[in-house]
Subunit: 187 residues, 2 copies
């Protein structure tokens, strides 16, 4: 039941590709009474991760105070069932980014960030929708987080059973998991 | 691009069903240099959430110190594309649990928790695999978190465009997302 076959990955292209493929991330900030973890969408441009929120959000307060945050993106690729439950696991790819957020107030960077977030959930969408008005821009906060301090963990492959368990009469292997996009439902 | 149509849900059965359906969760703890968010699997029994880890994990340290933690489980149900990017969003269900962890050392509760975690990823699996040995039990830490202080957020339905945007010549609607289990790959 533990993850014994995982490995840490530090190369930049692996980190980038996980961040790009993960549809959402989970942002951890320090709340008044302990950590708070919130799901949100994100996008990456080069070595910068962009998040957005409302001006009233805890995320913005964290950024304004210069407090550290943690962004974790996880893709689950499969269920790994070993002969022993102890060695059962998940195949997954995850990235953890540590940093402090930077409030983006430069207009050009804002445009790029908003565009990247829109394109992250649907490639090509930026030109297929109405772009933000001035009022909408004021109602949205864009936060940049450097990906400098990031690491990835990846587990792939089948179960790693102990040799003495290999003949046990239980099925072992991997059940692949994928995220599928269904038929679009028009408004 | 913000989540305007979301609503908070506090009824216990909704919270339970989201925790049960979400395959993994993200646990936030306070690290030495700021929040740390880690993906892990979980299981629920009644109003208790169970997590497991290695005896060397930061999770165990957090629990032993009595420090607060946050467990967030998120299911993404769809991409919501509005005429305006501002109103584009995601359909999702998420639960946030705040609490402190309790180290489970009672043998009966340990059995129940390990079983629930195994069954969470594959229903019926507990009896179709080798159960933990004494050495494996010692190498695995089981942590219980009360679900008393939890809330859920749910967004469903189509985009909520501003009236003046409704005639814009862009497609709007929802692209459903589902997690699919593929053909099992035998070891």
């Amino acid at each position: 039941m533990r993850r014994l076959a995982e490995r840490a990955v530090y190369d930049r292209s692996a980190i980038h590709s996980i961040l790009d493929e993960a549809l959402i991330c989970h942002v951890g900030i320090a709340g008044d009474e302990g950590p708070v973890v919130i799901p949100t969408i994100h996008a990456r441009i080069d070595d910068t991760l962009y998040l957005h929120g409302s001006p009233a959000s805890r995320l913005l307060r964290t950024v304004k105070r210069g407090e550290p945050l943690c962004v974790t993106a996880t893709i689950v690729d499969g269920i790994v069932l070993a002969k022993s439950h102890f060695h059962s696991s998940m195949n997954y790819r995850s990235v953890v980014v540590f940093g402090t957020g930077r409030l983006v107030d430069d207009r050009v960077e804002q445009d790029a960030g908003f565009r990247a977030i829109t394109e992250h959930i649907d490639t090509g969408r930026w030109d297929r929708g109405r772009q933000p008005s001035e009022a909408e821009r004021r109602a949205t906060v864009l936060v940049a987080v450097s990906i400098d301090e990031a690491s990835a963990k990846v587990r792939t492959g089948g179960p790693k059973d102990d040799p003495e368990d290999l003949e046990l009469p239980f099925w072992s292997g991997v059940i692949p998991l994928t995220t599928e996009r269904g038929q679009p439902i028009s408004e």
